[in-house]
């Protein structure tokens, strides 16, 4: 080529933020180090935040006395049973709403009206309805996880590719086959991603549930620490819940990767 041949300038790339492994951890460590320093140096008052090392000691203590398991196991039980109840019922109702006109027309407004009801407001009623035992705790968590699951499930059914359903019909598949082999697997990704939110809500509701006459449980532990204004224990409890949330979200991610391998 003749005169002045310049290379083409690069102008693409970007707008595709990736994850840098370790940065998250670094931010956590930095944050904790800052607080530790602040609480030691005194520019963070001990009323504002506990010293992270003290929270750590509380953990060690919880672990050594075995109290960790005494609190964690009942909470896990409540979380699992409650979420299982709520999610199962939610998926059932959600799929029905996704399939039948009259169920949809009748229940969608009901679910929409239930969604913004704060579950803690109903605590006194739950005692009457389900007693002060495990029943009311299960019920509270189940109710809290039910509504978001319903919404996610019927959204997922709505999003199933209609051409796949028409295909099923065109091959003379029975209604139940279409639901079982096309609608349900097609709705699975949406349902699973809704479950992430539902489980997080279940964890949040643990504290509310354990307001109801629970002696053991992470929620009860947090409440007790709060009422004694014992920040170390309060934070220890909060860290446990947060870890639980991250863990379950990771577990659902694993399930997704396994079950939804077919996704592009």
């Amino acid at each position: 080529m003749s005169e002045a041949a310049r290379p083409v300038q690069f102008r693409g790339g970007g707008f595709k933020p990736g994850m840098r492994r370790g940065t998250g951890l670094a931010v956590f460590i930095l944050l904790i180090a800052m607080i530790e320093w602040g609480t030691r140096a005194g520019w963070i008052s001990n009323l504002t935040l506990p010293r992270p090392s003290d929270v750590g000691l509380t953990f060690v203590d919880l672990w050594q006395t075995g109290l960790l398991w005494d609190h964690l196991l009942p909470s896990l039980g409540r979380l699992i049973v409650g979420t299982l109840l709520g999610v199962t019922a939610g998926i059932g109702v959600g799929v029905l709403i996704g399939l039948f006109t009259y169920i949809r027309a009748g229940l969608v407004p009901l679910v929409a009206a239930m969604f913004p009801i704060p579950k803690i407001a109903l605590l006194p009623l739950f005692v009457i309805w389900f007693g002060i035992g495990e029943g009311s705790k299960y019920a509270l968590i189940a109710l809290g996880t039910f509504t978001p699951t319903v919404v996610a499930a019927y959204g997922a059914v709505d999003n199933v590719d209609r051409t796949l359903i028409r295909m099923g019909q065109s091959f003379g598949l029975s209604w139940i086959s279409i639901v079982r082999k096309i609608v349900l697997p097609g709705a699975l990704p949406g349902i699973l991603s809704g479950m992430r939110v539902s489980v997080a809500i279940g964890i949040i509701l643990l504290v509310a549930a354990e307001m109801l006459g629970a002696e053991f449980g992470i929620g009860a532990y947090i409440l007790q620490a709060g009422s004694l204004y014992d920040l170390e224990r309060l934070f220890a409890g909060v860290v446990i819940l947060s870890a639980l949330g991250v863990l379950t979200s990771w577990a659902i991610g694993m399930i997704e990767r396994r079950v939804l391998r077919w996704r592009v």
Binding site: M167, F171, R263
Partner: protein
């Protein structure tokens, strides 16, 4: 909204009928009517004669966007349409193996749709349609989601399949070249509401047709002249979504 109006058509058994027409003229609607997926507000679709022996689903579609279940393997997708008709065990296995072989998919038995190229996906859809031994194949622009080269390859495959065992086909397309290559009878529809514009009969056997053949090119040019104005109008239409 009236989509199709005053339309009377006879489909010939054992031949391929191509339906062409501008965008939105109701070709897909017509095909859905044929297959019982849509109910006509007036008029009726009649089928005469008996379905061939071993026919599980007389009116069988091949869709433009393949309509494969992404969570099932190639074999699983074919299996799907057999399960409900009570084909089980070794028989099912044999049918699947047979149709996959006929569509050159034997090596892809366990592949998931996401691993396949567009052409391969459509072959799976054709294999699935063949598995139920249909009396009539309803093909709705089966090649238009594919690139031009793959389209060529699949046209050859379809001709080979038909030559081996002639089937009754109704083939909707925009592509005049496809219609000229595959049609024994070409039905031209007008703009919406779709009416019958013309029916062209082609005597030349499918195997004797080749891309770039002069008489086919002439036919294409004639069809294009018939439709150009309407295609332009359809293109210019504003939809009021």
């Amino acid at each position: 909204m009236v989509v199709l109006e005053d339309l009377s058509l006879t489909i010939l058994a054992g031949r391929i009928t191509c339906i062409i027409g501008p965008s939105g003229c109701g070709k897909s609607t017509l095909l859905r009517l044929f297959g019982g997926l849509e109910r006509p507000s007036e008029g009726q679709i009649l089928q005469s004669g008996e379905a061939p022996a071993g026919c599980l689903n007389p009116l069988t579609y091949v869709f433009q966007d393949f309509a494969l279940l992404p969570w099932r393997s190639v074999a699983g997708n074919v299996s799907l349409v057999l399960e409900d008709h009570g084909v089980r065990g070794a028989t099912r296995h044999d049918v699947i193996a047979d149709v996959l072989a006929r569509t050159k998919l034997a090596d892809f038995h366990d592949a998931l749709p996401k691993q396949l190229s567009g052409g391969m996906k459509q072959r799976v859809a054709i294999a699935r349609a063949l598995a139920v031994n249909p009396a009539v194949m309803l093909l709705d622009e089966p090649l238009s989601a594919l690139d031009a080269q793959t389209r060529e390859l699949l046209m050859d495959d379809l001709i080979a399949l038909w030559t081996r065992q002639p089937f009754t086909g109704i083939y909707v397309t925009h592509n005049l070249a496809e219609a000229a290559r595959l049609g024994h009878q070409i039905v031209v529809l007008s703009r919406r509401p779709g009416r019958l514009r013309d029916v062209v009969e082609l005597a030349l056997p499918l195997t004797d047709r080749h891309p770039g053949q002069a008489d086919l090119e002439a036919l294409q040019t004639r069809l294009w002249e018939l439709m150009r104005e309407e295609a332009e109008a359809a293109d210019q239409e504003l939809s009021h979504v």
